[in-house]
């Protein structure tokens, strides 16, 4: 699953650790999700959406 995490993070000038702290997860988790190696669970996806104040489908995109 593709995502716009890196772009959204850059727009806010957040490091991976900044985002990890906001999500209460490890920096490794943010890195794995951002690079597409790990798809987050629905609860974590909702937390990510809350942090960016966006809808989940605006952050995570279907693989075509």
């Amino acid at each position: 699953m593709k995502n716009r995490l890196k772009v959204l993070r850059a727009e806010r000038d957040w490091s991976q650790q900044d985002l990890a702290t906001r999500l209460d997860v490890s920096r490794q988790s943010v890195n794995a999700i951002e690079t597409g190696r790990y798809d987050p669970s629905l609860p974590l996806a909702f937390r990510i959406a809350d942090v960016f104040e966006m809808a989940i489908e605006e952050i995570f995109l279907r693989d075509e």
């Binding site: 999500l23 209460d24 997860v25 490890s26 490794q28 988790s29 790990y38 987050p40």
Partner: protein
């Protein structure tokens, strides 16, 4: 909770880990060369493990509090294992023991290894970071596959008398090697 509690690594961590492996290698070399006997080897190994556990743990970095607790439990169990094994082997070598006593001393190294297995189970239950939990479960499955594959292959080689018999407790070290290889592979992949 994990992200806010992540402790940055300290430079001295590698030093303590290196010192641990170096001391283990030196003790092993001394034992193999016959410079020290088995009992002395176990005592030195217990001292090396015991004295390096605390600085190694303090200097180390952990991705989550659950991992820090896991590391602490595994290190303590490993120390108990070395100590228990040393005592059991020494008693076995130096004394004529009754069967119930032999049963009891076989528990000395066994129970700490149960501690290691329990620590892994608790870690998976306690880890709040779903990605770290997923990573550990995947590495554990690889380790399980590794120990099954090696065990089955060795068993048939042994049955056809190509290799010597080995004791069943080797499953834990082989599993740990598999876990280490899987985690190394995850690191190489950047996972």
């Amino acid at each position: 909770m994990t992200g806010g509690d992540t402790v940055p690594p300290k430079r001295s961590h590698r030093l303590w880990v290196s010192l641990f492996f170096l001391s283990t290698a030196i003790i092993g070399a001394l034992r193999i060369s016959g410079a020290i006997n088995g009992t002395t080897g176990f005592i030195l190994l217990a001292i090396a493990t015991g004295s390096l556990i605390i600085p190694m743990r303090r200097a180390g970095s952990c991705a989550s509090p659950a991992m820090a607790t896991y590391n602490q439990r595994v290190l303590l169990s490993s120390f108990g294992y070395v100590l228990g094994l040393g005592i059991a082997v020494t008693l076995w070598n130096d004394y004529e023991l009754s069967r119930p006593v032999v049963f009891a001393i076989s528990l000395l190294p066994t129970l700490p290894t149960f501690g290691i297995i329990w620590a892994m189970a608790r870690y998976i239950a306690d880890e709040q970071d779903e990605y770290l939990r997923h990573r550990t479960i995947m590495a554990s499955l690889v380790a399980l596959g590794f120990v099954l594959a090696v065990g089955i292959f060795w068993g048939f080689l042994e049955m056809f008398e190509l290799v010597p018999h080995i004791w069943a407790w080797w499953v834990l070290p082989v599993w740990a090697i598999g876990l280490g290889l899987a985690q190394l592979w995850q690191k190489v992949r950047g996972a």
